[in-house]
Symmetry: C2
Subunit: 410 residues, 2 copies
C-alpha cells in the first residue's frame, strides 16, 4: 500500500552536480530570514567563491533570488546583498472543518498574507462544496494581490481518514456523505495548482511543531479530544502515517478488559467513553449543540463540589490520562500536546491529566496545552504547502538544467 521512495538524489555526473549545488544554495537562501551576501553563502555551503557566484546569478535570472544592491562596507569592498524572493510564488491552506472552513494565503516562507473563516457549505455534496471553497480561496487570493497563476502549492486538511498518496478522503464521519472523495483531484482542477491532502490532527501537530507549543520537539504527539478523538504523530520531524494511513486512530483504543464483552464497538472504546457526546450524556445541562455552552459549566460545577459533575470530570481525565500515558509508552515522544474542543473549554483539564499521568508512570515527557488552538491545522496546511512549493522549486532547478543557460521563459 506504500511505495518506498527510492528517490536517488545522488549526483552521477557533472550536470547533476550542478543541480544539487543549486539546490544547496537555494536551501540556504530560503532558510535565511532576511538578506544575505555571496560571502555568507560561501561560508554556509562550503562551496568556492566562483561557484557560488555563478549559482547565484543563475538563481537571480529565474527570479527566485532578488538582488538588493550593495550594502555598507564591513572593512572592505561593499557586499552585494540579496534575498530569497518569498513572493516568487504563493501557497494556500484550506482547513475544512465540520462547520467552519479556514482559508489562508501565504508566501513561500509560509508567512500569512491574509486569512478568512467561512461557514462550510454543508448542504452541498462534496464536489459542489469543494468547488465553493475553491472559489472563496480564489477570491481571497485576488484580494491579497496574489495572482492565481502564481499559486505553487496548496495544503488541505479534512476531518477524517485520508489516503494522502491518492489524495482521497476515505471517510469523514462529521461531513455529510463524505466517503472516498477524491479531494486532491477536485481541488487541483478547481485551483490549477498541486494540492496535498492530509488529516486535520496530523496538520495540527505539524502546525504546533512549526509555530506552536511543540517547537523544537522533533518527536511529539498531538492528542485531540472533541466530538471525535484522534492523534497526530510526529517522528524525527516527519509525520508518521502508518501502513494504512491510520496511525493515531486512538478513537478506537480499548480502555480496559471490562469493555471487551459489552458490545464493544458501541460503548467500550476511547471516543465513546470520553468524546463530547459521552460527556453530554452524563451531564443533563448539556444542550447537544455547542460545547462552549455547557462544557465550562460542567467543569465549574465539578470545581464547586458538585458530586455528579466531579465524577464525570474525574472519569474523563483518567481516560485521557491513560491514553496519554500509553501513547507515550509506545512512541516515547519528548512532548504531548493536548487540544480540541474539550481542552479549549476546560483549562484545568490539562493540569488534571498531567497529574494523573505522573501517577501512572514517572514519565519523562512534557504534557502541554495546544498553543494554536483551532488555528493549528491551518498552520499545518501552510507548512505543508510551503514545503511542497519549495521542494518543487528546487526540483525544477535540477530538472531544467538540460541547456547550459536556461533563460527564464518570457
Amino acid at each position: 500500500m506504500r511505495s518506498r521512495p527510492v528517490a536517488d538524489v545522488r549526483a552521477r555526473n557533472a550536470g547533476h552536480l550542478r543541480g544539487l549545488n543549486l539546490e544547496t544554495v537555494l536551501s540556504v537562501a530560503m532558510q535565511r530570514e532576511g538578506s544575505f551576501t555571496r560571502a555568507e553563502l560561501i561560508e554556509a555551503t562550503g562551496l568556492s567563491a566562483p561557484t557560488v557566484g555563478t549559482l547565484v546569478s543563475h538563481l537571480m535570472q529565474t527570479g527566485i533570488v532578488k538582488d538588493l544592491g550593495t550594502g555598507p562596507s564591513r572593512g572592505g569592498r561593499r557586499p552585494s546583498f540579496m534575498e530569497f524572493n518569498a513572493r516568487h510564488g504563493y501557497v494556500a491552506g484550506i482547513d475544512l472543518g465540520p462547520t467552519r472552513t479556514r482559508l489562508a494565503v501565504a508566501d513561500l516562507r509560509g508567512e500569512r498574507l491574509t486569512d478568512r473563516i467561512i461557514p462550510t457549505p454543508v448542504r452541498l455534496g462534496p464536489a459542489a462544496l469543494l468547488s465553493r471553497v475553491a472559489g472563496a480561496l480564489r477570491a481571497l487570493m485576488e484580494e491579497a494581490g496574489a495572482p492565481i497563476d502564481r499559486l505553487l502549492a496548496v495544503g488541505a486538511g479534512a476531518p477524517g481518514a485520508v489516503d494522502r498518496e491518492k489524495g482521497i478522503v476515505t471517510f469523514a464521519p462529521n461531513l455529510h456523505d463524505w466517503s472516498h472523495v477524491p479531494m486532491r483531484d477536485m481541488l487541483e482542477r478547481a485551483l490549477g495548482a498541486p494540492v496535498q491532502v492530509e488529516n486535520d490532527v496530523n496538520l495540527a501537530i505539524l502546525g504546533e511543531h512549526w509555530r506552536g507549543a511543540a517547537r523544537g520537539h522533533d518527536t511529539c504527539v498531538f492528542i485531540f479530544v472533541g466530538t471525535g478523538i484522534g492523534a497526530g504523530v510526529l517522528i524525527d520531524g516527519e509525520l508518521h502515517h502508518g501502513h494504512h494511513f491510520m496511525a493515531g486512530e486512538i478513537a478506537v483504543m480499548c480502555m480496559g478488559p471490562q469493555f471487551i464483552d459489552v458490545d464493544f464497538g458501541e460503548r467500550g472504546c476511547f471516543e465513546t467513553l470520553a468524546g463530547l457526546h459521552a460527556l453530554a450524556e452524563h451531564w443533563p445541562e448539556a444542550s447537544q449543540a455547542d460545547p462552549a455552552g455547557w462544557v465550562p459549566s460542567l467543569f465549574e460545577a465539578s470545581l464547586a463540589g458538585d458530586r455528579r459533575a466531579k465524577k464525570v470530570v474525574d472519569e474523563v481525565a483518567r481516560l485521557i490520562a491513560i491514553a496519554v500515558a500509553n501513547v507515550g509508552a509506545v512512541v516515547d515522544p519528548s512532548l504531548i500536546v493536548l487540544g480540541g474542543a474539550l481542552f479549549a473549554q476546560a483549562e484545568s483539564l490539562v493540569h488534571d491529566v498531567r497529574k494523573i499521568v505522573e501517577r501512572i508512570r514517572r514519565s519523562p515527557m512534557e504534557i502541554v496545552s495546544s498553543a494554536l488552538g483551532k488555528e493549528a491545522p491551518l498552520s499545518g496546511c501552510l507548512l505543508v504547502a510551503a514545503n511542497d512549493a519549495r521542494q518543487r522549486l528546487r526540483h525544477g532547478l535540477r530538472e531544467a538544467r538540460v541547456s547550459p543557460i536556461p533563460v527564464a521563459a518570457g
Copy 2:
C-alpha cells in the same frame, strides 16, 4: 538528547562524485546474490560503460570485489564475471540474555559461518562478564577461520533499556547489578572492532523483518511477553527509538481506569498483570523456575475445561489483545509479531489474541507468531553488524580514496 544527522551525503565536487559512484556500484554489487558482470552494473546504476569499468577496477584493487574470470558468451564477447567478496571481512552478533548468551559469526552479507550458545556468566560483574563473552567470541571466530583483525562490526543486544547513541545499558532488571554499563566501549576494547548496542526486543523485530515472519513488512511491531514485556517498533524499515530511547516500553502501559488508584506502579501495569510472574501467582502448580515446565500445563488445563486455568488464560489473552489493539491503533503497522516465553510455550495463545483483537476492532493488520523464536535477537544483531560493516566499507571508499588498500587496523 538526540542529535539530528544532518549528514549531507550530497556531492559538491568531482572528488565526492567519484566517492558516491563507487558507493553506488558497491551497493549494487552487495545486493546481488551471486556473480555479475560489468554490463549488469551499467544497467543497474545508469552509469556509462567506461565509468563502471574504472570503478570496478578500483573495487577489485581493494579486494572488496573478486574477479571470477570470463564466462560463456551470450551472443557476443564473453563477459567477465565478478562477485562481491563477502569474506572481505566478518561481523559478529552477541545476544546477551539473562541466562544464556548467543554468539554468531557471519560474513558481510550476514550469512552465518557458525554460532554458539553459552551460559551467561551471571556471577560476574558487568566488566568481567563482557570480557568473558568477548573471549568466547574470539574463540568462536578462530574456529570459524575468521581472523579477528578482519572483524569489521559487531551487533550486541541487551535485555533492558539501552542508550544506543552512547552505547550504554541504562538499566537491565534481569541482569545482576547492571546499571549504566558502558557495554559498547567495553566490548570495543575487548574485540578491537566497532560495536553497536541495541535493546533485545528491537533486535528481534529487525531479525524478523530480515529473515523471519515480518519479511516485506516495513512498518511492524514485535511484542514480547515473558518475564518482562516489551515491544520493538519498526517504521518504514527503520527502528523507532523514541526521544529517550524508551519507545516500545509497553510494560508500563495502564490497562484501565480501575488500576490507577490501587497502588499503580506495583499492581496495575501491563507487565505486572500479564507477565510470567503474574501468571505464576494465579497458577499454584507454577514452580517459579522454568516456564517451559508449567506454562503448557496451564494452557492444557484451560483447554480441558479447568475453570481456574481458563480464567487465568482468558484474562492474559485479553490483556495482550488490548495491548496489541492499542499499539496497532497508534502505530498502524501492517503486521504485529508476537513472541517471548509465553507464546513459545502456548501455541494457542496467538490464536486467542487474534480473535479478541478482531472483536475489539476490525483491524487491518496481521497478527502472527514469531518465526525465529529465541534466535530473533541474534539475527537482528547480525543484521545490525552487517549493515554497519557495509556502511563503513562504503564510507571508507569515499574517505580513503587516498590509500588504495585500507588494511584493517591490527
